[in-house]
């Protein structure tokens, strides 16, 4: 029954002392699918992926990888998985090349593969550097490179870009998008950057306090929450007392001193013309106009009353 999924997990629980790290979760992954586990720190993302990786044993529930139980043959499991932890301290005085070579030997990969991986993650210039001299981004790319040595069917990356600057983050995204297009790899990605989830993944699972709050594509998540688009604009002219636009339930919130307005729209296609018509009727000239779609952060906020993380804009 679970055979059409690469990973099929049901009823997973994992408790630590008083904390319910994972509290009854079903998870599946299809071939070629990129899935993001999005949630704040402590949501249980890492515990969940560690159970899938076979590092932690669930208190309850079952995980099938390609229809077979995890405990049957770990060595076979690790043959098809590519894993990168939140942080791995590689042997400090061993070079990039030597490190990759070491891991290539675990996968019985030929030497050509080492060069290919170094090229793929863009570490050619650093291949003879000690790992302790790498920047955060380079270190994560090394970790990613190692996880790609076996051309994994399933890549599991635990917060691969946390703490990296935007350009280093972008470099990792580019590598992952390339993999998706060329290799048909499947990906489980944990992150608390909503931009990362939306840029990379087909399906986003919002996780908090050990549970899945919602899952789906970005647009379906937003749609399900029935969250309005918002228009922000500035006008010149005399702002009327009237706040409600006739023939609709559109409301404009005015900041009269600065000439600014904000308007929430449930249906952009019909509401936008009404707004423009209203501005023209009242001889208001537009100076600027911005239309924003609801973000995952807004979705998360509306579900939990909290923001995803302080770092998200």
């Amino acid at each position: 029954m679970g055979t059409e999924y690469l990973i099929d997990a049901k009823g997973l629980h994992k408790h630590f002392k008083k904390v319910r790290a994972v509290d009854g979760v079903d998870f599946s992954l299809a071939k070629g699918e990129y899935v993001a586990l999005l949630g704040p720190n402590g949501a249980g993302k890492t515990t969940l992926v560690e159970m899938i990786e076979g590092i932690r044993t669930p208190d309850a529930g079952e995980i099938l990888v390609r229809g077979r139980s995890l405990n049957e043959d770990k060595s076979a499991l690790y043959g098809i998985l590519g894993i990168s932890f939140q942080e791995t301290r590689f042997l400090e005085k061993i070079t990039v090349l030597e490190t990759i070579r070491l891991f290539a030997s675990f996968y019985k990969q030929p030497d050509e593969k080492i060069g290919k991986v170094i090229h793929l993650v863009g570490l050619e210039d650093k291949k003879d550097a000690y790992t302790k001299n790498l920047s955060g981004g380079q270190r994560q790319r090394l970790a990613l490179g190692i996880s790609l040595l076996n051309d994994p069917e399933i890549l599991i990356l635990d917060e691969p870009t946390t703490g990296l600057d935007p350009s280093a983050r972008r470099e990792i995204w580019d590598i992952l998008l390339k993999l998706k297009n060329k290799m048909g790899t499947s990906l489980i990605l944990t992150t608390h950057y909503m931009e990362e989830a939306t840029q990379l993944c087909d399906r986003i699972i919002i996780m908090d306090k050990g549970r899945f709050l919602a899952e789906g594509s970005l647009s379906s998540l937003v749609g399900r929450m029935k969250m309005p688009d918002v228009a922000f604009f500035t006008v010149e002219g005399k702002i009327p007392d009237d706040q409600v636009i006739r023939q609709s339930d559109l409301v404009i919130e005015w900041d009269r001193e600065k000439g600014r307005g904000k308007c929430e729209m449930k249906n952009v296609a019909t509401d936008m013309p009404l707004l423009f018509a209203f501005l023209e009727e009242n001889n208001l000239r537009l100076i600027d106009f911005e239309h924003t779609k609801p973000s995952l952060d807004d979705v998360f906020l509306s579900m939990t009353g909290r923001r995803l993380s302080e770092e998200t804009e």
Binding site: I55, I83, T88, R89, F90, F106, Y107
Partner: protein, 366 residues
């Protein structure tokens, strides 16, 4: 009114909390030093009494020193003659003269039990000692003075001193095998235990485990590298000791290799069990010291363990480091062969296999 908290105070509290919430840190930081002080205190202060053992050869009716001892010294139930000096500052000093034949006396010197051997040749006694060993020289002076004063004759003050010439009786002969043994212990404990703990801490061990690697190879690789290095280090030390001090391996080379292998087995096992659980390097540091330090002190690497209380000797002799140091000494200095070190080799191997097995059972791979 809202209370404002002092940030320094908060920082201090945080540190204390951290400490108190890590029982390991607490034990290694407080409990362990106390235990060490206790152990060392028992060994070196105890009852403010120092004991010096002297081997005496040719103990006989007519001989001058023998006569003197018979007249002035008390005899204990081991057949040793005891001279006592009471001193307000230094407490009681016991000089214990043990009549022995020259073979046993020499063996005792090689094992560090005696630093001084006196040959009582009738008219005058001849002192045999290592001139490079200050403690032995001091002891000779003390005895010459002591006997001279009580005897009211200066036969002993002008006594003959003959440097020990028998191979394996100098302090350096005693020291080198002990150092080789200690090196093996330290190398295994820091080279294996510490490395494993660090790799576990940095997720490196776990990262290696989530590949199709065979887990036994992770340990085997480390052990092979370390034991090879141990061999090179020991060989270099022996080479240096031979070139510089003229120390020669008097016994069987096969026996030496056998003992070396057994010592490595023992300390590899101990290293694995030591590093089997923790991923905290501070705790690891403490555990490693907990294993190393007592043996460093008790096992007679630098000084003979025969200075420790009688009751503790059988225990000390079965510590892995003592087994290794003693068997190396007996081969290098006393000319022992395979048969003579077989029992110690066996005990070391058993210690190694048992600790390795237990360590592996508890081993935290992820």
């Amino acid at each position: 009114m809202k209370m404002k908290r002092n940030e320094l105070w908060q920082l201090i509290i945080i540190h204390f909390k951290e400490l108190l919430r890590e029982p390991g840190v607490l034990f290694w930081g407080i409990g362990f030093p106390i235990l060490m002080a206790w152990g060392l205190g028992i060994a070196f202060t105890g009852d403010k009494e120092t004991k010096k053992d002297i081997a005496i050869v040719n103990f006989g009716e007519e001989n001058k020193l023998s006569l003197f001892l018979r007249d002035h010294a008390a005899m204990d139930n081991h057949g040793r003659y005891i001279l006592t000096i009471n001193d307000q500052v230094f407490g009681r000093n016991l000089f214990r003269f043990e009549p022995l034949d020259s073979l046993d006396a020499t063996l005792g010197v090689k094992r560090g039990i005696y630093q001084l051997m006196i040959d009582d040749k009738g008219d005058s006694a001849v002192f045999h000692l290592d001139p490079a060993n200050p403690e032995a020289r001091l002891l000779q002076l003390q005895i010459a003075t002591l006997i001279g004063e009580r005897h009211e004759d200066d036969t002993f003050s002008g006594a003959n001193i003959i440097p020990l010439e028998v191979k394996g009786t100098r302090y350096i002969d005693f020291l080198v095998p002990g150092l080789i043994a200690m090196n093996i212990m330290m190398a295994c404990m820091w080279g294996m235990s510490w490395t494993i703990i660090e790799r576990r801490k940095g997720n490196m061990l776990r990262r290696m485990m989530v590949t199709p690697v065979h887990r036994q190879n992770i340990l085997l690789g480390l052990m092979t590298a370390r034991i090879t290095m141990n061999f090179v280090e020991a060989a270099l030390l022996i080479l240096f000791a031979w070139l510089y001090f003229g120390i020669q391996i008097q016994g069987s080379l096969a026996a030496l290799i056998m003992v070396f292998v057994a010592g490595n087995i023992a300390f590899t096992g101990i290293a694995i069990i030591t590093s089997s659980r923790t991923s905290n390097t501070e705790v690891g540091n403490g555990i490693i010291n907990f294993v190393n330090m007592p043996m460093m002190i008790l096992s007679g690497v630098f000084f003979s363990y025969h200075n420790f209380p009688e009751w503790s000797i059988p225990f000390i002799q079965n510590l892995p480091l003592t087994l290794l140091a003693d068997s190396m000494r007996s081969i290098i200095n006393e000319g022992a062969g395979v048969a003579a070190v077989l029992d110690k080799t066996l005990i070391m191997s058993i210690i190694g296999v048992v600790t390795f097995g237990l360590g592996l059972k508890m081993f935290k791979w992820y």
